[in-house]
Amino acid sequence: MATDIQTSPEKASNDRTRIIRDGLRRRHTSEQIFRGLGIAAIAIALGFVALLFVDVFRKGVPAFVQSNLHLSVTFDAEVIDVGPAPARADFPSDAEYTAASLKWQRDLALLNWNTIVEASLRKAAPEGFEIDSRQIQSIPETNARHQIREMFVRDPSLLGQTVEVDVLASANAANWIKGNIDRSLGDAQQQLSAPARQLIDTFVENGTISNGFAWTIFTNVDSRAAPASAGLLGAFVGTLWMMLIVVLLAVPIGVAAAIYLEEFAPKSRLTDLIEVNINNLAAVPSIVFGLLGAAVFINWFHLPISAPLVGGLVLTLMTLPTIIIATRGALMGVSPALRQAALGMGASKTQMVFHHVLPTTFPSILTATILGVAHALGETAPLLLIGMKAFVASVPATPLDQAAALPVQIYLWQGNENRNFFEPRTAAAIMVLLAVMILLNGAAIYLRSRLEKRA
């Protein structure tokens, strides 16, 4: 009886301790699980970042290698049987001279330059190698004959001479060399005939074909007939024009609007409306801006379709809210002491804003501009709606010319039928786009830290 009385509180307390311990263990386990979930979420997010970059890199790097054919081309006088190039002195006006030289070039274009290409290929092939004309023509890229013709147009004195020329191997040949296509597939599934494949391997062995860095990606414009020579130059310049327009328009207008709204606007219904309006514009889907561009700039104002000017205007309207919001934030952050000091010294409000407040916000405005431009750079959907889907194989000389843009070029290339060749090339274009974006973002971070330190 007495022992019962003695043990029972002890037991009760033991029980209580055990319950608490169990509870604590359970709670600590769930704490660990919760924390583990957090780490897992971060791992997933970072994993996706890594996966995306690794994937694009793995696919894109091979596209920076191109296969070059080294040929010795003879400008056979029997094939090239047109007269000498017209000289300016023989004609009374520029127009007549242009007409005559155009006619001369047209005559040249009508010649069968393929025979010249084929002859030089056969010269490089082993003695007595049997391959028919169509098969051997599938090895060089289709623009090889244009390349050789243009050499002749530039220098007609080449007639009858033999010169060393580097031409690109065709996309199918490049696929075969790089192993983008399964080498064990049967003849029916191969793009190239058996003799052509054999000749390519011989060329690789004897050094007629060698691989080099694909500068053509940066120096050529897009091409459909000659996919191996398709490059990004036209798209890059188109993007450059658009970004120039965005910077020239969005920054002054955006900063001015922010100054007005933050510093001068009277508190009224109208300014409230503008404020709500800007916040909403920042969240409007980008494709709606494309619709605006198609209806207003192209259909009502009749601006040219697929021109960087229209693209630049649309992207400007899209970037404006970002710049306005960032600038307002920066203006709001300027210390009131600075304002009061300026006003106290007798400055007018305009002087206070432009001479004292605005200069201190310069770092923020600069970084907001760079980030806004980086965002506009990657935007694709609105450009598709203003006609930038079109295939353009030229470098736009003015913002009114037809042009492509980097992201649109990616869109066009990923849709190309020759998947084996264009998938790596699309990934390469993405690498270029990402490199530009990382460069811009890095510049923004660097400039911000530097300028803020100085301020």
Binding site: T98, I287, A294, P407, Y411
Partner: protein, 457 residues
């Protein structure tokens, strides 16, 4: 050439007028202690404004109307008997030839005497009108300059005038934002209204078949919104299923658990996802995620298309992870510390505090953030264009190809249409739907977030 001359003249005018105002102002300061109201640069700017505005107005008027006047003059130079024999194309050809002769470039082939005469006449006309406009502009600018100069006295409030002009310019710039919205609404509504003259709105909003006949003719095909809406909502739901848990948990870990150094590295790395262009995500979905899901489905005996709602949804979810994460992080930081300290004081563990105190307190704000993410997912275009499969059919399986509102806008508006048939106009009706839906979501979400902020201020 002409543009360079005009720019040069304008710059010279600007320089002279500013200098005139400035030096006159300097001359006001005499020894007898007259107090000048404005500083010399304001007098300079004042004169410059008075000189530049009239000159610019005249040049702009000429830029606007000059082309038409020149065209009429050229036509008037073609002899009457030849003019009547020309059709529209022939007339344009003749005008091009005359312009080529006038510019001195010349034309190929025989030059008719009347062409030569018209070319010569046009050359002198061009020269005279160009010189005339420029002289008129300079005279107007000079008159403005003289007037402004005569007004400069010690008491002239030049600074106030200049600041008023600056103010008007600033106001005009902020009006651009309003004009953008007006432009969006006006273009969407007018073009969508034109679409509804072809297609009954009821058939559009409640139709279950999307089959536009792009061939033209009077058979327009059917334009039912529901298959597109269903596809959009399905992809958005999948995206949120990916983005919300991952985004929210990583925000919780980064803001509550992670040491400062880890946070400083991991947060920017996650935000890289927000800066990647959507076309890159689309490519990633198309060539990597889609085939992977298809093979994975085959392995477990499930038929999954490479381009499907699932592919597009998962990749879109990845895209909005940083959006959800940084917004939730923001919101949770607004919850006062005292609430958390109270929970710790009662012996709660960290996860209990987060689940039972922090999250309920932050819930309205987080819901607002999710709505913003939903609105972004609905309006996203490139991922779904590449990876959703473009099959506008009403069905419930996420493993099948679908289509969305944005995909159909891109498909129907190729950029080279003239907006005459419902085939292209439907893009604007879809755009209007998209705009209204996202606008409502945004306004509602911003309202919730603002209410939430006020609650703790």
């Amino acid at each position: 050439m002409n543009a360079l001359v005009v720019a040069g003249v304008l710059i010279v005018l600007l320089g002279i007028s500013y200098q005139t105002g400035w030096s006159k102002s300097r001359g006001l300061v005499t020894a007898d202690g007259v107090k000048v109201h404005s500083r010399p640069q304001y007098h300079g700017s004042f004169t410059a404004i008075w000189a530049m505005v009239p000159a610019l107005v005249i040049l702009l008027l000429w830029a606007w109307f000059g082309g038409g006047i020149t065209h009429n003059y050229t036509v008037s130079q073609i002899p009457q008997d030849i003019l009547v024999s020309l059709d529209q194309a022939g007339l344009n050809g003749a005008i091009i030839r005359i312009n080529a002769l006038a510019s001195g470039y010349g034309v190929a082939g025989e030059i008719a005497p009347w062409e030569q005469a018209a070319g010569d006449a046009l050359r002198s006309f061009n020269f005279l009108t160009f010189a005339g406009t420029l002289i008129l502009a300079v005279v107007a600018g000079g008159a403005g300059l003289a007037y402004a100069r005569s007004r400069i006295t010690a008491r002239l409030r030049a600074r106030n005038s200049v600041e008023r002009v600056v103010n008007v310019l600033l106001l005009a710039c902020s009006a651009v934002a309003i004009l953008t919205t007006v432009g969006i609404v006006a273009s969407l509504v007018t073009e969508a209204f034109r679409f509804f003259t072809f297609i009954n709105p009821l058939d559009f909003f409640f139709g279950t078949v999307w089959a536009p006949n792009n061939a033209g003719g009077t058979n327009y095909g059917s334009y039912g919104l529901l298959p597109l809406l269903a596809g959009t909502l399905m992809i958005t739901a999948i995206a949120m299923l990916v983005a919300v848990p991952v985004g929210l948990m990583s925000a919780i870990y980064l803001s509550q658990y992670a040491p400062k150094s880890f946070r400083a590295v991991a947060k920017p790395l996650i935000e890289i996802l927000a800066g990647i262009p959507t076309i890159v995500f689309g490519f990633f979905a198309l060539v990597t995620v889609g085939p992977f899901l298809r093979d994975f489905g085959n392995a477990i005996g499930l038929q999954i298309s490479a381009t499907s709602a699932l592919t597009a949804g998962i990749v879109m979810g990845i895209m909005i992870i940083p959006f959800v994460s940084s917004l939730s992080d923001d919101i949770m930081n607004q919850v006062p510390r005292t609430l958390r300290d109270g929970a710790y004081g009662l012996g709660a563990t960290q996860s209990e505090t987060i689940r039972n105190v922090l999250l309920p307190a932050a819930l309205p704000g987080i819901v607002g953030a999710f709505l913003l993410a939903v609105s972004r997912a609905i309006g996203e275009t490139m991922i779904v264009v590449l990876a959703a499969g473009n099959a506008p059919i009403l069905r419930g399986s996420p493993f099948e190809p679908v289509s969305t509102i944005t995909v159909s806008i891109v498909n129907q508006l190729t950029g080279d249409t003239d907006f005459t048939g419902p085939q292209s106009l439907v893009g604007f009706a879809l755009g209007l739907t998209l705009f209204v839906v996202t606008l409502c979501l945004n306004i509602f979400a911003l309202y919730i977030v603002r209410r939430f902020r006020e609650q703790y201020e």
